[in-house]
Amino acid sequence: MTMKGRKELRAMFEALHYSFIQKALLAGGFISVLCAVLGVFLVLKKFSLIGDGLSHVTFFSIALGLFFKTSPLYVSVPVVAVSSLGILKLTEKGKVFGDTAIGIVSSLGIAGGVIIASLSGGFNLDLMSYLFGSILTIQWAEVVLSVALSALVIALVIFYYHDLVAATFDEESAKVMGINTGRVNKVLVLLTSLTVVLSMRIVGIMLVSSFLIIPAASALQLGLSFRSTILASAAFGFVSVISGIFISYAADIPAGASIVMVSFLLFCAAFGLRKVTGR
């Protein structure tokens, strides 16, 4: 290893001593695994853009929280959860295509957010930090909340794992097996809404859907079994966040964008591997 390489490596290890890096790695690591696991089910159900739609609703709920001077998190959780159920209802009962339902709710979220932001005198710094994320400035309370909620969501995914797999593969047969697919779908979108809200501080509203989609899309290139695909997706998400944070620190660029770039490079590698091996 060259002198320069050694110096950079030492700088990385030194970064680990900083509290803001520790918080970013802990919260980011948990959220990345959470997003990547849920992402596999969403991508396979062709519902992957729900993350994008819900992030736009999150924009509205954050503007609402800032307008009323309350914590955006308290407003976002119920607003985004209700919107996710609204998308599901439009799809299942209203016979509206999934992407159309997401598009409707998504535009409504943006329009509502813009109206509230303009009523409060334009976009302020707080709102911008939610748009593009600020993982390096999060507080310990947010880290604890992120880890606790991530653990809760992962526990629920484990609880409903077989139901989710069956309903994702073939919903009609899952119903004939006695699986309550309506409840399974509700659990999936509610977990997604909670995840989107949790991720807004890490990667930002604009990029949150990439957390859900890219690691899952990368893992699907590998042609593995379902369980292995979930593990691979979690690994892709985790590596993207950890290396993205270090790159952000070293190159002094925004963490959210750097994480997404690493994630995309991993997707390219997985895609290339598939083409080379012909899997």
Partner: protein
């Protein structure tokens, strides 16, 4: 006790009676071919039976119970019309797909233990598809995929198999092989079979009864009865009825010769 019972069942969608006053009974060990043209209500009929659609009027019974209250889903194996929607990247191996069949009637959190895995292995062996156990379902041929779906439906040793056009996407020889497999299961394991198909002439080779619907019931009985049925003659015309029965006799004779 009858396995399936329809009494004056009507299902109305968008103001049109897709099923109009349908009545029939299926007993244990029967192999019933459900035949009709596109849009005649065949798939609606089995979805009503399985509780996937709620009838507008009449009475449906599955093992003596209303499908909406039926809980013993281990007794039923089902292959829907369309499972693999061209999604060849779906990350599910053949053995994982077959294992899903074991979830019938289990409470969450569901788990698959070593005894369950042994059942999956045994079912794959019965259908002669152990060689593809670790392959992704989407990478298999149409015939192999249908065998995997059949294995998923059979892994719980069901008493009733409901198959919705299982051979529609298969070539002639794969379709015939699949139908023989179903006939053997019906004869050897006494599994009751309800099979939806377009193929009116061929179904007589395998099924012991035929239900012909055209939104309303046209005929229900054995293929032999169909050939002399005045109702069928009235519906098809005597000439068409004769051609169907003649083609059936001819193909049945050919099938027997091939089996020998």
């Amino acid at each position: 006790m009858s396995v399936v019972e329809f009494k004056k069942v009507t299902y109305i969608a968008s103001g049109k009676a897709v099923l109009d006053n349908i009545s029939f009974t299926v007993s244990q060990g029967n192999f019933v071919g459900i035949v009709g043209q596109n849009g005649s209500g065949k798939t609606t009929l089995i979805k009503t039976l399985l509780g996937l659609l709620e009838k507008s009027s009449g009475e449906v019974k599955l093992f003596g119970e209303n499908p909406a209250r039926f809980r013993d889903w281990k007794k039923v194996g089902y292959i829907p019309q369309k499972v693999m929607t061209g999604e060849n990247r779906f990350p599910l191996t053949a053995s994982e797909a077959v294992g899903l069949g074991l979830l019938s009637g289990m409470k969450s959190p569901k788990s698959i233990d070593s005894a369950d895995r042994a059942k999956v292995k045994a079912t794959l062996e019965t259908l002669n598809i152990t060689g593809i156990a670790d392959k992704l379902v989407g990478s298999l041929s149409g015939g192999q995929q249908q065998r995997v779906m059949l294995a998923r439906a059979l892994v719980n040793d069901p008493e009733l198999l409901v198959l919705d056009e299982p051979t529609a996407a298969l070539d002639v020889s794969a379709g015939e092989a699949f139908m023989k497999l179903i006939r053997d299961l019906n004869e050897m394991r006494k599994v009751t079979v309800l099979l939806v198909t377009h193929d009116i002439a061929n179904i007589g080779k395998y099924a012991d009864k035929m239900l012909y619907i055209d939104n309303k019931m046209v005929f229900f009985g054995t293929f032999g009865d169909f050939c002399v049925s005045p109702d069928a003659a009235l519906y098809f015309g005597k000439y068409a009825q004769h051609i169907i029965c003649h083609r059936h006799d001819h193909e049945r004779a050919e099938g027997v010769a091939r089996d020998v």
